[in-house]
Structures are given as C-alpha cells and as structure tokens.
Symmetry: C2
Subunit: 147 residues, 2 copies
C-alpha cells in the first residue's frame, strides 16, 4: 500500500516462486500420470498440436521418452496421432476431449485450492496480487520467447 515503487527483489521473487512450484507439484491426480506426462498434456492443451520433436524440446526429456509417453497417452485415449500433411516423416499429436478434461480438472483443483487460500488474504493483499498479474504473465511470455 506504499505506492513508492520499491525496487523488486529478484531473490525474494525467486524464493516465492520456488515455493509455489513445490506446493503445486505434488497435487494428487486421480489418474496416475507422471509429471512429464501431465506436462505433455498441458502443453498440447495450451499450445495446440505438436510434433514429437517439438515436445522433446519443450519437455526436456529424450525423444524416446516422448514416443513412449505419447504411445501410452494414445492407448488411454487422451491424445491421438495424426500424420503431418506437410512432412511424411512427422506426426502431429492432438489432445482429445478426454485429455483436455484431465488438464481442466487439475486446473480446477488448483483454482479451488488457491481460492481457499486467497480468501484468507486481506482485500489489499488480493489487490496487490491482481495488480501484479499482467507483469507476471509478461515474465512468463518473455521466458517462452527466449528459450
């Protein structure tokens, strides 16, 4: 509530984000999907169909691992492979409605949990977070462009 533009402490921001990471990472999932598998679903759901090689880059695991994950997800009906019309070697992985439902369901859990916590903050605290949201979103955007 002091609008004197205090300097941003990146160390503190880092620490806060670290804790959010560790807080959300262990959310129980109904289906037993590994972290990487969930991340693949999330990526496909958020950014649309992707090749296996693109997923390899974004998820930071080996191409072989992505093949195995996609195979398992396809067997469970959560994604489907489609040929890439522009390249006969490539495959485009699409998320199915069932797959999207899992991503949405997990997001709903997180929203519910955060809502409970945010309810315990003061209105001023909530306003401060709201005011920072666009900047935080920009930070994420910048990070995605970069690498």
């Amino acid at each position: 509530m002091s609008p004197r533009s205090p300097e941003l402490s990146i160390a503190e921001l880092t620490s806060v984000l670290e804790n959010f990471t560790r807080m959300s990472i262990r959310l129980p999932s109904v289906q037993r999907l590994s972290f990487t598998t969930l991340s693949v679903l999330h990526t496909l759901s958020q950014r649309g169909p992707k090749r296996l090689t693109e997923l390899t880059a974004s998820e930071q695991v080996t191409q072989s691992a992505i093949t195995q994950i996609v195979t398992k997800l396809e067997r469970d009906g959560l994604v489907r492979r489609e040929p890439d019309p522009s390249d006969g070697r490539a495959v485009l992985v699409h998320v199915t409605p069932a797959g999207a439902a899992i991503v949405d369901g997990r997001r709903a859990e997180r929203i519910a949990r955060l809502t409970e916590l945010a309810d315990q903050l003061t209105p001023a605290e909530r306003a401060a977070i709201a005011a920072a949201l666009p900047a935080l979103a920009r930070l994420v955007e910048l990070s995605q462009q970069q690498h």
Copy 2:
C-alpha cells in the same frame, strides 16, 4: 497503474503460476539429482533438520523412497544422519555445507535467469510485482500451515 483495487482473478493467477512451475522445473542441474531429491535438499536447507517421516509427509512420496534418497544423499556427502536425542527410533537428517551449496547454486541460476527477464520489464511492471511479493509470500505460508 490503476489503484482501483481490481478483483483478483484466481484462474489467471493459477495459470501464471502453472507456467512458472513448468518453466523452472526443467532447469539443468550439474549433478544428476532427481526432482524429489532436490526437493528434499531444499526442504532441509530451508527448514532445518527433519526426521524421515517428516520428509515423507512434505515430499509426498513413500517412507521407503525417502530412506533411499537420504541414503544416496548421505553417500554423496550432501546430508548426514544423526540420532534424535528425544526418540531412539528416529533419525534427524541434516544438510551438509556441500548439500547447501547445491541448493544455493541452483537458486543462483534461477535468480540470474529471472534477473535477465525482469530487466526486460518496465519499471512500473517491476514495481507491481514488488508490491505483490509480500502477499504472494503470505499465500505460500498459508498453504504450508494448512497441509
């Protein structure tokens, strides 16, 4: 810049935090330590010595997994086991200087990366994040009390 206390959208906050999680989770680590192993080191470094059962609760894996992780960390000189004077069955796991150095090193990497990104924000954006930091930290605190 509009200090009219706009309502906080938890859905947007959730989305932003999700992306931060996925952004930081795949940071390359010099030593090949699993996510859970790094999380144990982080917990010990941040909250001091803990019993194996306490780590089991905070890391959300089985007690057996914690035993194996601690054994491996001890073999590598990153933690050490000490008897709990108040309970002959229990063991207190302490992080060693070498273990703390790994945690600090990884934090330094994250800080460096975030600093680069934050430099690309406007001063107003940085100020907005700075103003929200205490509230975000409180949110983390509340979450840790709860569960």
